[in-house]
């Protein structure tokens, strides 16, 4: 029987202006998935412009030069398409999944949204109000809020400290002209990848992309690079208090660059800690019953990657749970992961990778991501082998270099002390 699933072979074509098109044929289902991805996002923002990328992206679905917002929604949804723009700390873009027979129409619509948004003033007012409410609402989500606090504390100046959505103050101030100029610079063919995975001929998928993005033929000016920042030298902490039943806590560390051998080592290491069979869950929840939710994850970024840990627990267990959590991090800095455990974790990681590749949307998003972040689209096929080469020694060194127990940031949302809530 077969071993772990490998990504299907992908091909790269380069179009006008340097637009990279990555296509992979996958005939398992009559679905085609598209990921449009472009370098540029929060990483290019300043405090006073915080949230500009997110608001500009939100406007992509709010009407184009040719169609109203309502018409766009109606047409996408009549085709049964799944579509959404996205904004991250490093990237912007949009994803589309659709029955392959409807691909051409849906892809044209998507390109129209990306290339010709109208930024109608009344639509902008409405969308701005919705974003402001969303920012407010994020405060109600304990873990989201704790993670925002910990990232804000991790960086002094780097734009990664800014929330993707921006702040109430910054979003209120973003002017229409500014948004239009920002968007005009955002999608530049030389910083952009369109990945398509579907049950159509590779060259046909490529041609559909070329046609849809034909007007995107020359590069736009790039933004200046943000200054790199070193990890903190002592723990930083930010706390918010709400009337809540439990504590939500997040720790942030600056991890290795992507792609690098340290990144792969930390990737495997985060799997040693994370998940229901990981050390954190086993020790904190299974063995000691110190909390319901605990986990860890490594997020690749253009500058140093982000390693995050989260914990949900009761107020009375907070201190013990945090110490137990830090103790587990200390262990991976001091002792190599036993080979047997590593073999188990590696199988789990690669198994999850195989399982996730069943979805074409996941394949397309990863192809675009790896190509843009400098690993190359082939990284998707090479990933299992790269993970197999990671050794306990490499993981230990990576942990010592990047998991600074004196240099992390902690964000937490705490319930009010018992005397105030017991009334």
């Amino acid at each position: 029987m077969s071993s772990e699933r490998q990504a299907l072979p992908s091909r790269l074509f380069v179009g006008p202006g340097g637009l990279r098109i990555v296509v992979a044929e996958n005939h398992a289902t009559p679905i085609t998935a598209v990921a449009v991805s472009c370098l540029g996002g929060v990483r290019n923002e300043r405090r006073e412009l915080s949230g500009i990328t997110y608001l500009a992206q939100r406007m992509l679905l709010k009407g184009t030069q040719l169609r109203s917002a309502e018409d766009l929604a109606e047409e996408f949804e009549f085709l049964g398409a799944r579509y959404a723009p996205f904004t991250s700390k490093d990237l912007v873009g949009a994803t589309l999944s659709v029955l392959s027979r409807n691909l051409a129409g849906a892809l044209d619509l998507l390109a129209e949204c990306i290339l010709q948004p109208a930024f109608l003033p009344e639509e902008l007012d409405r969308e701005r109000r919705l974003v402001l409410t969303e920012i407010q609402r994020r405060q109600d989500d304990g873990f989201a809020c704790a993670m925002d606090l910990s990232e804000a504390a991790l960086y002094r100046k780097h734009p990664y400290r800014l929330a993707v959505t921006g702040t109430q103050a910054s979003v209120r101030r973003l002017e229409r002209e500014r948004l239009i100029r920002w968007h005009g610079r955002l999608y530049s063919p030389d910083r952009m990848v369109v990945a398509v995975v579907g049950d159509l001929r590779a060259t046909h998928m490529r041609d559909l992309v070329l046609e849809a993005f034909a007007s995107l033929d020359h590069p736009r000016p790039a933004w200046p690079e943000p200054k790199p920042e070193e990890p903190p030298t002592s723990p930083r902490q930010r706390t918010r208090r709400r009337a809540r039943q439990h504590v939500a806590l997040a720790l942030s560390f600056m991890g290795p660059h992507f792609p690098s051998s340290d990144f792969l080592a930390m990737d495997v290491l985060s799997q040693v800690l994370a998940g229901m069979s990981g050390r954190l869950f086993t020790e904190l929840r299974d063995r000691r019953g110190l909390g319901y939710a605990v986990g860890a994850g490594l997020e690749p970024r253009r500058d140093r990657s982000h390693f995050g840990v989260h914990l949900g627990t009761s107020l009375e267990n907070r201190q013990v749970a945090l110490e137990a959590l830090l103790e587990e991090l200390r262990r991976v800095r001091q002792e190599p992961v036993p080979r047997q455990e590593l073999a188990r974790v590696r199988r789990h990681l690669l198994g999850l990778f195989s399982i996730s590749l069943q979805r074409k949307a996941v394949q397309a998003a990863r192809l675009a991501f790896f190509e843009l972040m400098g690993a190359g689209h082939g990284f998707l096929q090479g990933y299992p082998e790269a993970v197999r080469r990671v050794t306990p020694e490499a993981m230990l060194k990576a942990a010592q270099r990047h998991l600074h127990l004196e240099g992390y940031a902690c964000g937490q949302v705490l319930p009010h002390p018992p005397s105030r809530t017991s009334r």
């Binding site: 077969s2 772990e4 969303e134 809540r244 069979s277 199988r347 399982i355 074409k360």
Partner: protein, 450 residues
């Protein structure tokens, strides 16, 4: 006095009536349906085994569906099904606590479980070559959980933590209260996770009794999907579960929904920044005439940005950040749930707007284009769901527990045949103000004195 319009038919009645009115399938040309090549066996013990071979897959999903959930519980045992589901991971005769998860992860897969009103499901996905090992592990877990006192005690704490976390999630807290309001003295009115006093005093003997009563062959379906061979797999399952007691199935106690005299309302306050508004209308069960029309009602109202509620409240008026609608249709009574997130000051305006839209739909019905869009979206969603072996397995298992796995295909086909008049009729019957329950969860109002 509005009532649930008709009594439920049996699944087989529903099937035959659905088949007779089914129009030719107009969806995917290249796609042969979900249940077409499923091997289904009922073993002598009554255990059902469903296997679907899918190529290429390289991963396989295995699920044990047990026909017990919150609907089978009384107030005094509320939460016991969910508790037993947790304890499946807490040690069995051959496995110490936590070993099942570690074992499946070590094979390169993942394992999880859930409990709903109607069933409990233990499922996992692994690379296909590990199918035998996974069948061994899951079968042993389902057959021989230990319910050790110390583990039970510890799990009480974990489940209470889970409960507290739910209370901190404003939408979940809102829905829990809405169901309580809409279904008094009915199991839907209790959270599946259970009631705190019951959980605090949970004893291993109680868990064991529940396991013995419900984890019996006639009440279990095993669903396997992936690049596996049906016959040897079926044989292996039969061997592994030979020790399973055959039955009998404990029927659900009759649980009538109390008649509703008029609109019910509850206002909650939490330390929030945004407000949540949720509304519920009781619907007939899945096997009642008109149930599928209700699914289309829900799609027309709240599925996607171009749906009626989203277009009006979010896209045109900008009054809500999110609005959605879903139809919950199972064997028991169904319901339509509307759910909005919004600034607190818009609560009245949005509630009034929703009632206006419902009234408009009750008067004019959906347009032909809306009907076609709803069908297209249902068909696409159905195909998307089949991208993964676990998606296929979940759909097959869900419908098998409702009575017949082939309902999965029929459901989509029948949706294609529903006419606008049927949707209009469903709106008139079920979307009535006096049948509605409303819960608002909002930040505390600033006191008049200040």
């Amino acid at each position: 006095m509005p009532r649930r319009a008709r009594t439920n038919e049996s699944p087989s009645d529903w099937l035959s009536s659905a088949r007779s009115r089914c129009e030719p399938y107009t969806g995917q040309e290249t796609w042969s349906g979900l249940s077409s090549d499923v091997v289904r066996r009922v073993l002598p013990s009554g255990l059902r085994v469903l296997i679907k071979e899918v190529y290429p897959a390289s991963v396989v999903s295995v699920a044990f569906w047990i026909g017990v959930g919150a609907l089978h519980e009384t107030d005094e045992e509320a939460g016991v099904s969910h508790f037993v589901e947790h304890m499946l991971f807490k040690g069995s005769r051959a496995r110490p606590p936590g070993a099942l998860t570690r074992e499946i992860h070590a094979l390169g897969g993942y394992v999880n479980a859930f409990t709903s009103f109607e069933s409990t499901c233990l499922w996992c996905v692994v690379p296909s070559r590990h199918l035998p090992a996974v069948l061994d592990a899951l079968a042993e877990t389902v057959l021989n959980p230990l319910f050790e006192p110390a583990e039970t005690e510890r799990e009480i704490g974990v489940i209470l933590d889970e409960m507290r976390m739910r209370q901190d999630r404003p939408e979940a807290w809102c829905t829990e209260n809405l169901l309580k309001l809409a279904f008094p003295r009915h199991p839907y009115g209790r959270p599946v996770i259970g009631l705190e006093p019951v959980l605090r005093s949970m004893e291993p003997s109680r868990l064991r009794r529940h396991h013995q009563a419900h984890y019996v062959a006639q009440n279990i379906a095993v669903v396997v999907v992936g690049d596996v061979q049906a016959e040897p797999t079926c044989q292996r399952i039969q061997d592994l579960l030979a020790g399973l007691a055959p039955g009998p199935i404990r029927p659900e106690p009759p649980q009538p929904v109390l008649p509703q005299e008029g609109l019910r309302r509850l206002d909650l306050e939490q330390d929030l920044s945004s407000a949540h508004l949720q509304m519920l209308f009781p619907l007939p069960g899945l096997f009642s005439p008109g149930a599928l029309a209700c699914d289309l009602v829900s799609s027309v109202l709240g599925d996607g940005r171009s749906s009626r509620l989203s277009r009006r409240l979010r896209e045109r008026q900008g009054l809500v950040t999110r609005v959605g609608c879903s139809a919950f249709l199972e064997r028991g009574p169904g319901f339509l749930l509307l759910d909005c997130t919004l600034p607190p000051e818009n609560l009245d305006l949005v509630e009034a707007g929703i009632f206006e839209e419902l009234e408009a739909l009750r008067r004019g019905g959906p347009t032909p284009r809306e009907m076609q869009k709803a069908r297209n979206r249902a068909q696409s969603a159905f195909v998307f769901n089949q991208e993964t072996v676990e998606g296929i397995g979940r759909t097959l298992g869900h419908f098998e527990m409702l009575g017949d796995h082939t309902l999965a295909d029929l459901y989509v086909r029948q949706l294609a045949g529903i006419r606008g008049e049927e949707v209009l009729e469903a709106c008139r019957l079920y979307l009535r103000r006096e049948r509605c329950s409303v819960v608002r969860n909002r930040p505390p109002r600033v006191g008049a004195a200040s």
